[in-house]
Protein backbone atom coordinates (compact mmCIF):
# COMPACT_ATOMS: atom_id res chain seq x y z
CA UNK A 1 0.00 0.00 0.00
CA UNK A 2 1.19 3.52 -0.76
CA UNK A 3 0.99 5.45 2.46
CA UNK A 4 1.96 8.88 1.13
CA UNK A 5 0.43 9.06 -2.31
CA UNK A 6 1.29 12.71 -2.84
CA UNK A 7 4.95 12.03 -2.30
CA UNK A 8 4.78 8.88 -4.40
CA UNK A 9 3.28 10.84 -7.30
CA UNK A 10 5.74 13.67 -6.91
CA UNK A 11 8.63 11.24 -7.28
CA UNK A 12 7.22 8.84 -9.85
CA UNK A 13 5.12 10.94 -12.20
CA UNK A 14 8.14 12.72 -13.76
CA UNK A 15 9.52 9.28 -14.59
CA UNK A 16 6.26 8.26 -16.29
CA UNK A 17 6.38 11.49 -18.25
CA UNK A 18 9.99 10.79 -19.24
CA UNK A 19 8.92 7.34 -20.42
CA UNK A 20 6.07 8.86 -22.43
CA UNK A 21 8.45 11.39 -24.02
CA UNK A 22 10.89 8.64 -24.96
CA UNK A 23 8.08 6.56 -26.46
CA UNK A 24 6.87 9.48 -28.55
CA UNK A 25 10.35 9.62 -30.15
CA UNK A 26 9.83 6.02 -31.29
CA UNK A 27 6.31 6.92 -32.49
CA UNK A 28 7.46 9.89 -34.54
CA UNK A 29 10.20 8.01 -36.38
CA UNK A 30 9.30 4.42 -37.18
CA UNK A 31 12.90 3.66 -38.16
CA UNK A 32 14.41 5.25 -35.05
CA UNK A 33 17.44 3.31 -33.85
CA UNK A 34 18.15 4.15 -30.20
CA UNK A 35 21.58 4.21 -28.65
CA UNK A 36 22.42 1.61 -26.02
CA UNK A 37 21.97 4.23 -23.31
CA UNK A 38 18.51 5.17 -24.64
CA UNK A 39 17.48 1.51 -24.82
CA UNK A 40 18.64 0.86 -21.29
CA UNK A 41 16.85 3.98 -20.04
CA UNK A 42 13.65 2.91 -21.78
CA UNK A 43 13.84 -0.51 -20.17
CA UNK A 44 14.62 0.95 -16.76
CA UNK A 45 11.70 3.39 -16.95
CA UNK A 46 9.40 0.63 -18.15
CA UNK A 47 10.30 -1.66 -15.28
CA UNK A 48 9.89 1.11 -12.76
CA UNK A 49 6.49 2.04 -14.22
CA UNK A 50 5.37 -1.59 -14.09
CA UNK A 51 6.39 -1.73 -10.45
CA UNK A 52 4.48 1.52 -9.81
CA UNK A 53 1.46 0.11 -11.57
CA UNK A 54 1.52 -2.95 -9.33
CA UNK A 55 1.66 -0.74 -6.23
CA UNK A 56 -1.14 1.50 -7.45
CA UNK A 57 -3.38 -1.46 -8.21
CA UNK A 58 -2.62 -3.06 -4.90
CA UNK A 59 -3.50 0.19 -3.15
CA UNK A 60 -6.74 0.53 -5.11
CA UNK A 61 -5.79 3.76 -6.88
CA UNK A 62 -7.61 2.70 -10.02
CA UNK A 63 -7.80 6.08 -11.73
CA UNK A 64 -4.06 6.68 -11.55
CA UNK A 65 -3.39 3.07 -12.50
CA UNK A 66 -5.52 3.63 -15.62
CA UNK A 67 -3.44 6.64 -16.51
CA UNK A 68 -0.23 4.69 -16.11
CA UNK A 69 -1.60 1.61 -17.90
CA UNK A 70 -1.73 3.35 -21.26
CA UNK A 71 1.95 4.37 -21.00
CA UNK A 72 3.00 0.92 -19.81
CA UNK A 73 1.06 -0.71 -22.67
CA UNK A 74 2.94 1.39 -25.23
CA UNK A 75 6.27 0.68 -23.56
CA UNK A 76 5.48 -3.04 -23.41
CA UNK A 77 4.69 -3.08 -27.14
CA UNK A 78 7.92 -1.22 -27.88
CA UNK A 79 10.14 -3.44 -25.77
CA UNK A 80 8.58 -6.85 -26.27
CA UNK A 81 7.73 -6.68 -29.97
CA UNK A 82 10.48 -8.90 -31.24
CA UNK A 83 9.22 -8.55 -34.78
CA UNK A 84 11.78 -6.59 -36.72
CA UNK A 85 10.74 -3.61 -38.77
CA UNK A 86 12.74 -4.02 -41.94
CA UNK A 87 12.51 -1.35 -44.56
CA UNK A 88 9.96 -2.37 -47.19
CA UNK A 89 11.72 -3.44 -50.38
CA UNK A 90 9.21 -3.28 -53.25
CA UNK A 91 11.29 -5.33 -55.70
CA UNK A 92 11.93 -8.06 -53.17
CA UNK A 93 8.24 -8.14 -52.33
CA UNK A 94 7.27 -8.31 -56.00
CA UNK A 95 9.86 -10.81 -57.17
CA UNK A 96 10.17 -13.08 -54.16
CA UNK A 97 7.44 -12.62 -51.56
CA UNK A 98 4.42 -12.48 -53.88
CA UNK A 99 5.17 -15.49 -56.11
CA UNK A 100 6.40 -17.64 -53.23
CA UNK A 101 3.27 -16.81 -51.22
CA UNK A 102 1.15 -17.79 -54.21
CA UNK A 103 2.95 -21.13 -54.47
CA UNK A 104 2.73 -21.74 -50.74
CA UNK A 105 -1.05 -21.35 -50.86
CA UNK A 106 -1.50 -23.07 -54.22
CA UNK A 107 -4.23 -25.36 -52.83
CA UNK A 108 -6.59 -22.44 -52.31
CA UNK A 109 -5.87 -21.19 -55.84
CA UNK A 110 -6.64 -24.61 -57.29
CA UNK A 111 -9.93 -24.65 -55.42
CA UNK A 112 -10.81 -21.15 -56.70
CA UNK A 113 -9.92 -22.21 -60.24
CA UNK A 114 -11.92 -25.42 -59.90
CA UNK A 115 -15.05 -23.60 -58.72
CA UNK A 116 -14.73 -21.06 -61.56
CA UNK A 117 -14.26 -23.78 -64.18
CA UNK A 118 -17.24 -25.67 -62.79
CA UNK A 119 -19.29 -22.46 -63.10
CA UNK A 120 -17.99 -22.00 -66.67
CA UNK A 121 -19.03 -25.51 -67.63
CA UNK A 122 -22.45 -25.02 -66.08
CA UNK A 123 -22.92 -21.62 -67.79
CA UNK A 124 -22.06 -23.16 -71.17
CA UNK A 125 -24.34 -26.12 -70.49
CA UNK A 126 -27.25 -23.83 -69.56
CA UNK A 127 -26.89 -21.93 -72.81
CA UNK A 128 -26.51 -25.10 -74.87
CA UNK A 129 -29.64 -26.53 -73.31
CA UNK A 130 -31.73 -23.38 -73.43
CA UNK A 131 -30.51 -20.43 -75.55
CA UNK A 132 -33.25 -18.27 -74.04
CA UNK A 133 -31.48 -18.58 -70.67
CA UNK A 134 -29.03 -15.95 -71.93
CA UNK A 135 -31.15 -13.12 -70.61
CA UNK A 136 -31.13 -14.60 -67.14
CA UNK A 137 -27.45 -15.48 -67.08
CA UNK A 138 -25.69 -12.54 -68.73
CA UNK A 139 -25.69 -9.36 -66.70
CA UNK A 140 -24.66 -6.90 -69.44
CA UNK A 141 -27.15 -5.72 -72.07
CA UNK A 142 -24.49 -5.50 -74.82
CA UNK A 143 -23.98 -9.26 -74.53
CA UNK A 144 -27.63 -10.19 -75.00
CA UNK A 145 -27.76 -9.71 -78.76
CA UNK A 146 -26.44 -11.96 -81.54
CA UNK A 147 -22.59 -12.16 -81.30
CA UNK A 148 -22.36 -11.81 -85.11
CA UNK A 149 -24.19 -8.47 -84.96
CA UNK A 150 -21.88 -7.20 -82.26
CA UNK A 151 -18.76 -8.27 -84.15
CA UNK A 152 -20.07 -6.54 -87.28
CA UNK A 153 -20.83 -3.41 -85.29
CA UNK A 154 -17.44 -3.35 -83.56
CA UNK A 155 -15.54 -3.88 -86.81
CA UNK A 156 -17.39 -1.10 -88.59
CA UNK A 157 -17.25 1.58 -85.94
CA UNK A 158 -16.12 4.86 -87.38
CA UNK A 159 -15.48 6.49 -84.02
CA UNK A 160 -12.88 5.61 -81.45
CA UNK A 161 -14.85 3.54 -78.88
CA UNK A 162 -13.26 5.29 -75.95
CA UNK A 163 -12.50 8.56 -77.68
CA UNK A 164 -10.88 10.88 -75.19
CA UNK A 165 -11.94 8.92 -72.13
CA UNK A 166 -9.23 6.26 -71.98
CA UNK A 167 -7.80 7.39 -68.65
CA UNK A 168 -11.21 7.70 -67.00
CA UNK A 169 -12.38 4.34 -68.36
CA UNK A 170 -9.18 2.63 -67.22
CA UNK A 171 -9.52 4.14 -63.74
CA UNK A 172 -13.15 3.03 -63.55
CA UNK A 173 -12.18 -0.54 -64.53
CA UNK A 174 -9.31 -0.63 -62.04
CA UNK A 175 -11.34 0.55 -59.09
CA UNK A 176 -14.42 -1.53 -59.95
CA UNK A 177 -12.44 -4.73 -60.42
CA UNK A 178 -10.39 -4.10 -57.29
CA UNK A 179 -13.63 -3.69 -55.34
CA UNK A 180 -14.89 -7.02 -56.71
CA UNK A 181 -11.57 -8.67 -55.81
CA UNK A 182 -11.60 -7.25 -52.27
CA UNK A 183 -15.21 -8.36 -51.88
CA UNK A 184 -14.25 -11.90 -52.91
CA UNK A 185 -11.44 -11.74 -50.36
CA UNK A 186 -13.57 -10.31 -47.56
CA UNK A 187 -16.27 -12.90 -48.11
CA UNK A 188 -13.71 -15.50 -47.11
CA UNK A 189 -14.86 -14.55 -43.61
CA UNK A 190 -18.17 -16.24 -44.35
CA UNK A 191 -16.21 -19.46 -43.97
CA UNK A 192 -15.53 -19.27 -47.72
CA UNK A 193 -19.16 -19.57 -48.80
CA UNK A 194 -19.41 -15.99 -50.12
CA UNK A 195 -16.12 -16.31 -52.02
CA UNK A 196 -17.27 -19.55 -53.64
CA UNK A 197 -20.57 -17.95 -54.66
CA UNK A 198 -18.75 -15.03 -56.34
CA UNK A 199 -16.40 -17.41 -58.17
CA UNK A 200 -19.22 -19.67 -59.24
CA UNK A 201 -21.36 -16.78 -60.47
CA UNK A 202 -18.41 -15.25 -62.39
CA UNK A 203 -17.75 -18.69 -63.88
CA UNK A 204 -21.32 -19.07 -65.10
CA UNK A 205 -21.22 -15.66 -66.82
CA UNK A 206 -17.83 -16.34 -68.39
CA UNK A 207 -18.82 -19.83 -69.57
CA UNK A 208 -22.07 -18.58 -71.09
CA UNK A 209 -20.37 -15.68 -72.94
CA UNK A 210 -17.62 -17.92 -74.31
CA UNK A 211 -20.10 -20.58 -75.41
CA UNK A 212 -22.31 -17.96 -77.08
CA UNK A 213 -19.46 -16.54 -79.18
CA UNK A 214 -17.90 -19.93 -80.00
CA UNK A 215 -21.29 -21.29 -81.11
CA UNK A 216 -21.73 -18.22 -83.36
CA UNK A 217 -18.32 -18.90 -84.94
CA UNK A 218 -16.73 -15.79 -83.44
CA UNK A 219 -14.00 -17.52 -81.48
CA UNK A 220 -11.26 -15.31 -82.91
CA UNK A 221 -13.14 -12.14 -81.94
CA UNK A 222 -13.78 -13.57 -78.48
CA UNK A 223 -10.12 -14.36 -77.92
CA UNK A 224 -9.00 -11.02 -79.31
CA UNK A 225 -11.52 -9.19 -77.14
CA UNK A 226 -10.98 -11.06 -73.85
CA UNK A 227 -7.39 -12.26 -73.88
CA UNK A 228 -5.39 -9.00 -73.61
CA UNK A 229 -6.98 -8.03 -70.29
CA UNK A 230 -8.70 -11.26 -69.28
CA UNK A 231 -5.52 -13.29 -68.84
CA UNK A 232 -4.56 -10.86 -66.08
CA UNK A 233 -7.97 -9.85 -64.76
CA UNK A 234 -9.38 -13.34 -64.27
CA UNK A 235 -6.27 -14.68 -62.48
CA UNK A 236 -6.31 -11.52 -60.32
CA UNK A 237 -9.86 -12.28 -59.18
CA UNK A 238 -8.81 -15.90 -58.62
CA UNK A 239 -5.83 -14.78 -56.52
CA UNK A 240 -8.00 -12.45 -54.43
CA UNK A 241 -10.39 -15.37 -53.95
CA UNK A 242 -7.39 -17.56 -53.09
CA UNK A 243 -6.67 -15.11 -50.28
CA UNK A 244 -10.31 -15.34 -49.18
CA UNK A 245 -10.15 -19.13 -49.15
CA UNK A 246 -6.87 -19.08 -47.18
CA UNK A 247 -8.68 -16.95 -44.62
CA UNK A 248 -11.65 -19.32 -44.64
CA UNK A 249 -9.39 -22.30 -44.18
CA UNK A 250 -7.76 -20.65 -41.16
CA UNK A 251 -11.20 -19.89 -39.73
CA UNK A 252 -12.43 -23.44 -40.19
CA UNK A 253 -9.16 -25.10 -39.17
CA UNK A 254 -9.91 -28.69 -40.14
CA UNK A 255 -7.95 -31.18 -38.05
CA UNK A 256 -5.93 -28.36 -36.53
CA UNK A 257 -5.07 -28.25 -32.87
CA UNK A 258 -3.86 -24.68 -33.14
CA UNK A 259 -6.13 -21.99 -31.71
CA UNK A 260 -8.18 -20.08 -34.25
CA UNK A 261 -6.58 -16.75 -33.44
CA UNK A 262 -3.12 -18.24 -33.95
CA UNK A 263 -4.18 -19.80 -37.24
CA UNK A 264 -5.53 -16.45 -38.43
CA UNK A 265 -2.41 -14.62 -37.30
CA UNK A 266 -0.26 -17.14 -39.17
CA UNK A 267 -2.00 -16.54 -42.51
CA UNK A 268 -2.65 -12.80 -42.22
CA UNK A 269 0.57 -11.85 -43.96
CA UNK A 270 -0.10 -14.25 -46.85
CA UNK A 271 -3.66 -12.96 -47.23
CA UNK A 272 -2.43 -9.39 -47.40
CA UNK A 273 0.32 -10.24 -49.90
CA UNK A 274 -2.11 -12.04 -52.22
CA UNK A 275 -4.66 -9.22 -52.00
CA UNK A 276 -2.03 -6.60 -52.81
CA UNK A 277 -0.75 -8.71 -55.72
CA UNK A 278 -4.28 -9.02 -57.11
CA UNK A 279 -4.82 -5.26 -56.82
CA UNK A 280 -1.58 -4.62 -58.70
CA UNK A 281 -2.60 -7.01 -61.48
CA UNK A 282 -5.96 -5.28 -61.80
CA UNK A 283 -4.26 -1.93 -62.37
CA UNK A 284 -2.49 -3.43 -65.38
CA UNK A 285 -5.66 -5.20 -66.58
CA UNK A 286 -7.61 -1.92 -66.41
CA UNK A 287 -5.04 -0.11 -68.56
CA UNK A 288 -4.95 -2.94 -71.12
CA UNK A 289 -8.73 -3.20 -71.27
CA UNK A 290 -9.11 0.51 -71.84
CA UNK A 291 -6.28 1.00 -74.33
CA UNK A 292 -6.15 -2.34 -76.20
CA UNK A 293 -9.12 -4.66 -75.64
CA UNK A 294 -11.75 -2.24 -76.88
CA UNK A 295 -10.08 -1.90 -80.29
CA UNK A 296 -10.85 -4.53 -82.89
CA UNK A 297 -10.11 -5.24 -86.54
CA UNK A 298 -9.17 -3.26 -88.58
CA UNK A 299 -7.62 -0.93 -85.94
CA UNK A 300 -5.92 -3.84 -84.17
CA UNK A 301 -5.73 -7.25 -85.88
CA UNK A 302 -7.08 -10.08 -83.74
CA UNK A 303 -3.89 -12.08 -84.21
CA UNK A 304 -1.86 -9.29 -82.61
CA UNK A 305 -4.26 -9.03 -79.66
CA UNK A 306 -4.29 -12.80 -79.18
CA UNK A 307 -0.50 -12.92 -79.39
CA UNK A 308 -0.28 -10.09 -76.84
CA UNK A 309 -2.62 -11.96 -74.50
CA UNK A 310 -0.69 -15.21 -74.97
CA UNK A 311 2.61 -13.52 -74.12
CA UNK A 312 1.04 -12.00 -71.02
CA UNK A 313 -0.30 -15.39 -69.97
CA UNK A 314 3.07 -17.10 -70.43
CA UNK A 315 4.82 -14.36 -68.47
CA UNK A 316 2.19 -14.57 -65.73
CA UNK A 317 2.56 -18.33 -65.43
CA UNK A 318 6.34 -18.00 -65.41
CA UNK A 319 6.14 -15.26 -62.79
CA UNK A 320 3.92 -17.12 -60.36
CA UNK A 321 5.42 -20.58 -60.79
CA UNK A 322 9.12 -19.94 -61.34
CA UNK A 323 10.18 -16.46 -60.21
CA UNK A 324 11.72 -16.12 -56.74
CA UNK A 325 12.64 -19.78 -56.39
CA UNK A 326 16.26 -18.95 -55.58
CA UNK A 327 15.57 -18.66 -51.89
CA UNK A 328 14.36 -21.63 -49.93
CA UNK A 329 10.62 -21.46 -49.53
CA UNK A 330 8.98 -22.58 -46.32
CA UNK A 331 6.57 -25.42 -46.98
CA UNK A 332 3.65 -23.87 -45.20
CA UNK A 333 2.76 -20.84 -43.14
CA UNK A 334 -0.53 -22.28 -42.08
CA UNK A 335 0.34 -24.30 -39.04
CA UNK A 336 2.08 -22.55 -36.19
CA UNK A 337 3.02 -24.83 -33.35
CA UNK A 338 0.21 -25.67 -30.98
CA UNK A 339 0.25 -23.83 -27.68
Amino acid sequence: MIVDLDRFLAVERPLWQELETLLSVYDRDRLFRPTTAQSLRLFELYQRSVADLARLEEGGHVDIANELSSVVTRAYAQIHSSRRRPRFKPMEWLLIVLPSTFRRQIGAFQMALGVTLFGCALGAAFLAWDPAAKEGILPFSNLLGDPKDRVHEEEHKTKDPNGEVHAGFAAMLMTHNTRVALTALALGLTWGVGTMIILFSNGITLGAVCFDYVRAGETKFLLGWLMPHGVIEIPAILIASQAGLVLASALIGWNSRVRRRDRLRAVSSDVFTLAAGAALMLVWAGIVESYISQYHKPVLPYEAKIAFGAVELILLIYFFFFVGRRRAEPQTAKEPSAK
Binding site: M1, I2, V3, D4, L5, D6, F8, D27, Q47, V50, A51, L53, A54, E57, G59, G60, V62, D63, I64, N66, E67, S69, S70, V72, T73, Y76, A77, H80, S81, R83, E164, V165, H166, A167, G168, F169, A171, M172, M174, T175, R179, L182, T183, L185, A186, L187, L189, T190, G194, L247, A250, L251, R260, R261, L264, R265, S268, V271, F272, A275
Partner: protein, 273 residues
Protein backbone atom coordinates in the same frame (compact mmCIF):
# COMPACT_ATOMS: atom_id res chain seq x y z
CA UNK B 1 -13.54 1.41 -14.81
CA UNK B 2 -16.54 -0.59 -13.79
CA UNK B 3 -15.60 -4.03 -12.54
CA UNK B 4 -17.84 -5.86 -15.01
CA UNK B 5 -16.71 -3.96 -18.11
CA UNK B 6 -15.09 -6.09 -20.84
CA UNK B 7 -11.36 -5.89 -20.52
CA UNK B 8 -8.32 -7.02 -22.42
CA UNK B 9 -5.98 -8.55 -19.90
CA UNK B 10 -2.34 -8.70 -20.81
CA UNK B 11 -0.14 -10.54 -18.38
CA UNK B 12 3.27 -8.89 -18.47
CA UNK B 13 6.42 -10.95 -17.97
CA UNK B 14 7.03 -8.76 -14.91
CA UNK B 15 4.03 -10.38 -13.24
CA UNK B 16 1.65 -7.43 -13.54
CA UNK B 17 -1.61 -7.71 -15.44
CA UNK B 18 -2.60 -4.81 -17.67
CA UNK B 19 -6.35 -4.34 -17.81
CA UNK B 20 -7.48 -2.34 -20.81
CA UNK B 21 -11.18 -1.53 -21.25
CA UNK B 22 -12.57 -2.77 -24.57
CA UNK B 23 -14.81 -0.60 -26.74
CA UNK B 24 -18.39 -1.71 -27.25
CA UNK B 25 -20.38 -1.75 -30.50
CA UNK B 26 -22.20 1.56 -29.99
CA UNK B 27 -19.17 3.74 -29.39
CA UNK B 28 -17.44 2.04 -32.31
CA UNK B 29 -20.43 2.75 -34.52
CA UNK B 30 -20.28 6.42 -33.52
CA UNK B 31 -16.53 6.50 -34.30
CA UNK B 32 -17.23 4.84 -37.65
CA UNK B 33 -19.90 7.46 -38.40
CA UNK B 34 -17.44 10.24 -37.58
CA UNK B 35 -14.88 8.66 -39.91
CA UNK B 36 -17.53 8.38 -42.62
CA UNK B 37 -18.12 12.11 -42.20
CA UNK B 38 -14.39 12.80 -42.54
CA UNK B 39 -14.29 10.66 -45.69
CA UNK B 40 -17.25 12.63 -47.07
CA UNK B 41 -15.43 15.90 -46.40
CA UNK B 42 -12.30 14.57 -48.12
CA UNK B 43 -14.25 13.36 -51.16
CA UNK B 44 -15.97 16.76 -51.22
CA UNK B 45 -12.56 18.41 -51.47
CA UNK B 46 -11.57 15.89 -54.14
CA UNK B 47 -14.68 16.80 -56.14
CA UNK B 48 -13.70 20.47 -56.04
CA UNK B 49 -10.19 19.62 -57.28
CA UNK B 50 -11.62 17.43 -60.04
CA UNK B 51 -13.96 20.22 -61.12
CA UNK B 52 -10.91 22.43 -61.61
CA UNK B 53 -9.07 19.75 -63.61
CA UNK B 54 -12.14 19.10 -65.78
CA UNK B 55 -11.43 22.30 -67.67
CA UNK B 56 -8.19 20.78 -68.98
CA UNK B 57 -9.14 17.12 -69.49
CA UNK B 58 -12.47 15.49 -68.65
CA UNK B 59 -11.05 11.99 -68.88
CA UNK B 60 -8.13 12.64 -66.56
CA UNK B 61 -10.44 14.45 -64.17
CA UNK B 62 -12.68 11.37 -64.02
CA UNK B 63 -9.63 9.10 -63.63
CA UNK B 64 -8.37 11.17 -60.69
CA UNK B 65 -11.82 11.17 -59.15
CA UNK B 66 -12.31 7.41 -59.54
CA UNK B 67 -8.90 6.54 -58.13
CA UNK B 68 -9.00 9.27 -55.46
CA UNK B 69 -12.45 8.17 -54.30
CA UNK B 70 -11.28 4.57 -54.06
CA UNK B 71 -8.04 5.45 -52.28
CA UNK B 72 -9.81 7.71 -49.78
CA UNK B 73 -12.56 5.17 -49.09
CA UNK B 74 -10.25 2.20 -48.72
CA UNK B 75 -7.01 3.84 -47.64
CA UNK B 76 -8.27 6.31 -45.03
CA UNK B 77 -8.60 3.75 -42.26
CA UNK B 78 -5.45 1.89 -43.24
CA UNK B 79 -3.19 4.92 -43.43
CA UNK B 80 -4.60 6.63 -40.34
CA UNK B 81 -4.34 3.54 -38.17
CA UNK B 82 -0.87 2.71 -39.47
CA UNK B 83 0.72 6.13 -39.06
CA UNK B 84 -1.32 7.23 -36.06
CA UNK B 85 -0.74 4.21 -33.85
CA UNK B 86 -4.15 2.61 -34.26
CA UNK B 87 -6.30 5.72 -34.39
CA UNK B 88 -8.49 7.46 -36.93
CA UNK B 89 -10.11 10.84 -36.46
CA UNK B 90 -13.29 9.21 -35.12
CA UNK B 91 -11.35 6.96 -32.76
CA UNK B 92 -9.18 9.84 -31.58
CA UNK B 93 -12.22 11.99 -30.81
CA UNK B 94 -13.82 9.19 -28.81
CA UNK B 95 -10.63 7.97 -27.15
CA UNK B 96 -10.48 4.61 -28.93
CA UNK B 97 -7.39 2.85 -30.24
CA UNK B 98 -6.75 -0.31 -32.23
CA UNK B 99 -4.31 -2.60 -30.49
CA UNK B 100 -2.71 -5.93 -31.25
CA UNK B 101 -4.57 -8.55 -29.22
CA UNK B 102 -1.39 -9.53 -27.40
CA UNK B 103 -0.41 -5.92 -26.73
CA UNK B 104 2.52 -6.06 -29.13
CA UNK B 105 3.18 -3.57 -31.87
CA UNK B 106 0.47 -3.22 -34.50
CA UNK B 107 1.68 -4.42 -37.90
CA UNK B 108 0.74 -2.90 -41.26
CA UNK B 109 -0.73 -6.19 -42.49
CA UNK B 110 -3.03 -6.29 -39.46
CA UNK B 111 -4.25 -2.75 -40.06
CA UNK B 112 -4.75 -3.37 -43.79
CA UNK B 113 -6.56 -6.65 -43.23
CA UNK B 114 -9.01 -5.34 -40.62
CA UNK B 115 -9.90 -2.43 -42.89
CA UNK B 116 -10.20 -4.45 -46.10
CA UNK B 117 -12.43 -6.96 -44.33
CA UNK B 118 -14.71 -4.24 -42.96
CA UNK B 119 -17.02 -4.88 -45.91
CA UNK B 120 -18.28 -8.13 -44.38
CA UNK B 121 -18.77 -6.51 -40.98
CA UNK B 122 -20.97 -3.79 -42.44
CA UNK B 123 -23.38 -6.32 -43.94
CA UNK B 124 -26.32 -6.13 -44.33
CA UNK B 125 -26.42 -2.49 -43.09
CA UNK B 126 -25.08 -0.30 -40.27
CA UNK B 127 -22.45 -2.84 -39.29
CA UNK B 128 -24.95 -5.42 -38.07
CA UNK B 129 -22.69 -8.45 -38.59
CA UNK B 130 -19.75 -6.65 -36.98
CA UNK B 131 -21.94 -5.47 -34.10
CA UNK B 132 -23.21 -8.97 -33.40
CA UNK B 133 -19.66 -10.33 -33.38
CA UNK B 134 -18.50 -7.51 -31.09
CA UNK B 135 -21.27 -8.41 -28.65
CA UNK B 136 -20.67 -12.14 -28.83
CA UNK B 137 -16.88 -12.41 -28.73
CA UNK B 138 -14.80 -12.39 -25.59
CA UNK B 139 -12.62 -9.51 -26.70
CA UNK B 140 -15.35 -7.57 -28.50
CA UNK B 141 -13.89 -8.22 -31.94
CA UNK B 142 -15.65 -7.83 -35.25
CA UNK B 143 -14.78 -10.32 -37.99
CA UNK B 144 -12.03 -8.07 -39.35
CA UNK B 145 -10.49 -7.88 -35.86
CA UNK B 146 -10.66 -11.65 -35.47
CA UNK B 147 -8.86 -12.16 -38.76
CA UNK B 148 -6.24 -9.49 -38.08
CA UNK B 149 -5.73 -10.34 -34.40
CA UNK B 150 -6.64 -6.86 -33.19
CA UNK B 151 -8.90 -5.33 -30.56
CA UNK B 152 -10.26 -1.82 -30.02
CA UNK B 153 -9.67 -0.39 -26.56
CA UNK B 154 -10.97 2.71 -24.83
CA UNK B 155 -8.08 4.86 -23.82
CA UNK B 156 -8.76 6.43 -20.49
CA UNK B 157 -6.58 9.35 -19.71
CA UNK B 158 -7.60 9.60 -16.09
CA UNK B 159 -7.80 13.12 -14.77
CA UNK B 160 -6.90 13.96 -11.25
CA UNK B 161 -9.91 16.00 -10.30
CA UNK B 162 -9.48 19.43 -8.86
CA UNK B 163 -11.07 18.92 -5.50
CA UNK B 164 -9.00 21.45 -3.62
CA UNK B 165 -12.00 23.75 -3.37
CA UNK B 166 -13.99 21.17 -1.40
CA UNK B 167 -13.98 21.54 2.33
CA UNK B 168 -12.67 18.65 4.31
CA UNK B 169 -14.69 17.43 7.23
CA UNK B 170 -13.07 17.82 10.64
CA UNK B 171 -13.01 14.08 11.14
CA UNK B 172 -13.46 11.26 8.60
CA UNK B 173 -14.33 8.09 10.48
CA UNK B 174 -13.94 5.98 7.32
CA UNK B 175 -10.21 6.62 7.19
CA UNK B 176 -9.72 4.38 10.21
CA UNK B 177 -10.44 1.43 7.93
CA UNK B 178 -7.53 1.41 5.54
CA UNK B 179 -8.41 -1.88 3.85
CA UNK B 180 -12.01 -0.80 3.27
CA UNK B 181 -10.80 2.53 1.86
CA UNK B 182 -8.49 0.71 -0.54
CA UNK B 183 -11.33 -1.56 -1.62
CA UNK B 184 -13.61 1.44 -2.14
CA UNK B 185 -10.99 3.10 -4.35
CA UNK B 186 -10.73 -0.05 -6.38
CA UNK B 187 -14.46 -0.67 -6.83
CA UNK B 188 -15.83 2.84 -7.22
CA UNK B 189 -16.47 3.76 -10.85
CA UNK B 190 -14.57 6.94 -11.82
CA UNK B 191 -17.84 8.27 -13.27
CA UNK B 192 -19.53 7.93 -9.89
CA UNK B 193 -16.63 9.68 -8.20
CA UNK B 194 -16.89 12.52 -10.70
CA UNK B 195 -20.64 12.85 -10.04
CA UNK B 196 -19.98 12.94 -6.31
CA UNK B 197 -17.43 15.74 -6.70
CA UNK B 198 -19.80 17.74 -8.87
CA UNK B 199 -22.66 17.16 -6.44
CA UNK B 200 -20.59 18.57 -3.57
CA UNK B 201 -19.49 21.52 -5.66
CA UNK B 202 -22.99 22.43 -6.71
CA UNK B 203 -24.84 21.51 -3.53
CA UNK B 204 -25.87 25.10 -2.84
CA UNK B 205 -27.49 25.51 -6.23
CA UNK B 206 -29.65 22.40 -5.83
CA UNK B 207 -33.06 22.56 -4.24
CA UNK B 208 -33.49 20.60 -1.02
CA UNK B 209 -35.50 17.71 -2.43
CA UNK B 210 -33.15 17.13 -5.36
CA UNK B 211 -30.08 17.46 -3.18
CA UNK B 212 -31.35 14.90 -0.68
CA UNK B 213 -32.34 12.50 -3.46
CA UNK B 214 -28.97 12.86 -5.21
CA UNK B 215 -26.86 12.36 -2.08
CA UNK B 216 -29.05 9.44 -0.96
CA UNK B 217 -28.49 7.72 -4.30
CA UNK B 218 -24.74 8.37 -4.25
CA UNK B 219 -24.37 7.22 -0.65
CA UNK B 220 -26.36 4.07 -1.35
CA UNK B 221 -24.13 3.32 -4.34
CA UNK B 222 -20.86 3.77 -2.43
CA UNK B 223 -22.09 1.82 0.59
CA UNK B 224 -23.17 -1.00 -1.70
CA UNK B 225 -19.56 -1.39 -2.77
CA UNK B 226 -17.98 -1.61 0.68
CA UNK B 227 -19.50 -2.42 4.06
CA UNK B 228 -18.22 0.07 6.64
CA UNK B 229 -19.03 -0.77 10.24
CA UNK B 230 -22.58 0.40 11.14
CA UNK B 231 -21.29 2.49 14.05
CA UNK B 232 -19.36 4.63 11.57
CA UNK B 233 -22.26 5.05 9.17
CA UNK B 234 -25.30 5.46 11.36
CA UNK B 235 -24.45 8.89 12.81
CA UNK B 236 -23.83 10.29 9.32
CA UNK B 237 -26.23 11.75 6.80
CA UNK B 238 -25.99 10.86 3.11
CA UNK B 239 -24.16 14.05 2.23
CA UNK B 240 -21.54 13.45 4.90
CA UNK B 241 -21.04 9.89 3.66
CA UNK B 242 -20.46 11.22 0.13
CA UNK B 243 -18.08 13.86 1.51
CA UNK B 244 -16.10 11.17 3.33
CA UNK B 245 -15.99 9.00 0.21
CA UNK B 246 -14.77 11.87 -1.97
CA UNK B 247 -12.04 12.51 0.56
CA UNK B 248 -11.01 8.85 0.34
CA UNK B 249 -11.08 8.90 -3.44
CA UNK B 250 -9.50 12.26 -4.17
CA UNK B 251 -8.18 14.18 -1.17
CA UNK B 252 -5.04 12.17 -0.68
CA UNK B 253 -2.29 12.91 1.74
CA UNK B 254 -1.80 13.83 5.34
CA UNK B 255 -5.18 12.87 6.73
CA UNK B 256 -4.89 9.25 5.68
CA UNK B 257 -1.35 9.05 6.90
CA UNK B 258 -2.39 10.47 10.22
CA UNK B 259 -5.26 8.02 10.53
CA UNK B 260 -2.98 5.13 9.72
CA UNK B 261 -0.45 6.17 12.32
CA UNK B 262 -0.81 4.58 15.76
CA UNK B 263 -1.76 7.39 18.13
CA UNK B 264 1.08 6.74 20.50
CA UNK B 265 3.80 7.10 17.86
CA UNK B 266 5.45 10.42 17.40
CA UNK B 267 5.45 12.21 14.04
CA UNK B 268 9.18 11.76 13.59
CA UNK B 269 9.04 8.07 14.38
CA UNK B 270 7.27 7.11 11.19
CA UNK B 271 8.82 7.02 7.78
CA UNK B 272 6.41 7.21 4.92
CA UNK B 273 7.12 5.01 1.94
Amino acid sequence: MTPNAAQLRIRLPEGVTLRLPLAGPLIRLVAFSLDTFVIMVMTGILTRVVEAIKAFSGSWAYAIYAIGYFVIGTGYGILCEHFWKGQTVGKWLLGLRVLDRTGLELQFTQVALRNVLRFVDTLPAWGLVGGIFILCTEHRQRLGDLAAGTVVIRERRAELRDVSALNRAKYNSFLKHQVLCARLRKLAAPEAGAVAVEALRRRDSLNDADRIRLFDALAAYFLSLVEFPPEDIEPLGSEQIVRNVVEILYLRGGREKAAARPPQMSHRGFAAS
